[in-house]
Symmetry: C2
Subunit: 203 residues, 2 copies
């Protein structure tokens, strides 16, 4: 618990220590085995013992590398998170920097919902593995800071820091999962959420 995966900072880290060859081999084996088992049996019903066995490594190795089941999920999500983060930092409008802040807020929610649709199970694993996990993960911090900056620009009369947290709450993977389990189709959730966001930032 409470362990940051060693390669969780996508756009930084000048590699403090070179990775030993057996460590690299095992890291790849573990990621491949986890991905395969998750695809085949669903995220919930695959235990860490099983992943370790499938990868041909000991349980200790698995936990030293990834810290927890949530950390393993975060590592598998890392590629997709980084892609969205790059589009926000350097990409074209309306997501990227060459657009009005209000448009970027809406575009962010729209893009995040895509990410959510594609990775709901993994996100849910990474966010619900332990209480408070969602808010300690690095990527949550990124979304939060980005949204805060945009709100500060688009709505100077709001408490941007606090509002950012509250506006991110509807993106909680566990809520989104529950909504999809119920009667709500993804497109309905999307349009309702975007309407809500638009009202908060004043269109």
């Amino acid at each position: 618990m409470q362990h940051v995966p060693p390669d969780s900072c996508p756009l930084a880290a000048p590699e403090t220590a070179p990775e030993r060859s057996d460590a690299a081999r095992n890291r790849l084996r573990i990621l491949a085995a986890a991905q395969a088992l998750f695809d085949r049996h669903g995220v919930e019903s695959v235990s860490m013992d099983r992943i370790a066995a499938e990868a041909g490594v000991g349980k200790g190795t698995l936990f030293r590398r990834f810290g927890s089941k949530a950390g393993l999920a975060a590592a598998l999500l890392d590629t997709q998170d980084s892609r969205l983060q790059e589009r926000i930092l350097f990409g074209p409008p309306p997501l990227g920097p060459d657009a009005p802040a209000a448009d970027r807020v809406v575009a962010f929610f729209d893009a995040y919902l895509d990410l959510l649709d594609d990775n709901l199970e993994l996100l849910r694993l990474s966010e619900t593995a332990a209480p408070g996990a969602r808010y300690r993960i690095g990527s949550y911090g990124f979304w939060r800071v980005h949204l805060t900056l945009m709100l500060r620009e688009a709505c100077p009369d709001l408490d941007a820091d606090c509002t950012a947290h509250l506006l991110l709450a509807p993106l909680d993977s566990d809520l989104q999962h529950a909504l999809r389990q119920g009667q709500f189709r993804p497109e309905r959730i999307r349009s309702t959420l975007l309407t809500l966001v638009n009202r908060v930032i004043g269109h």
Copy 2:
């Protein structure tokens, strides 16, 4: 897992089977022991084994009565939940029925934040014990239905069912805990959330 505590429906249930005397005695013992241990050591660090031992009952008894650790928390919260539910159904304005729907929405969020401040640990236990727990608990259904009806009346142009879910998201006990752990004082969270709600329902 996935077990509804026998007495979780506060305003109904005409008592299908009379409770045996030893069962009643043990139920009270368990609730008292749990409350005492939670107060003394904090919710997280008290195990179900410990509660059973303190209450002088077997583990099986504990789980048969309350289904899970979350169910036990729900039973301890039941009194407070019911009190707020009664104020909503029968109490004075602005929470009760003799007020405009928009005012009742705001009053509900205000009152729920009070409940949250007083019972954060127990709520967190009941909502984070298992993925999706929050949305399966009876009281969540009550808040959701109430909010849906109010929104339908106050904002006919919104998708009331879906918006109700999304507006309840910021009340998630795990988020509220994380905010309070950080730099955010309860009054700041309250005023920001109420501002947000007012914007969504159009003042």
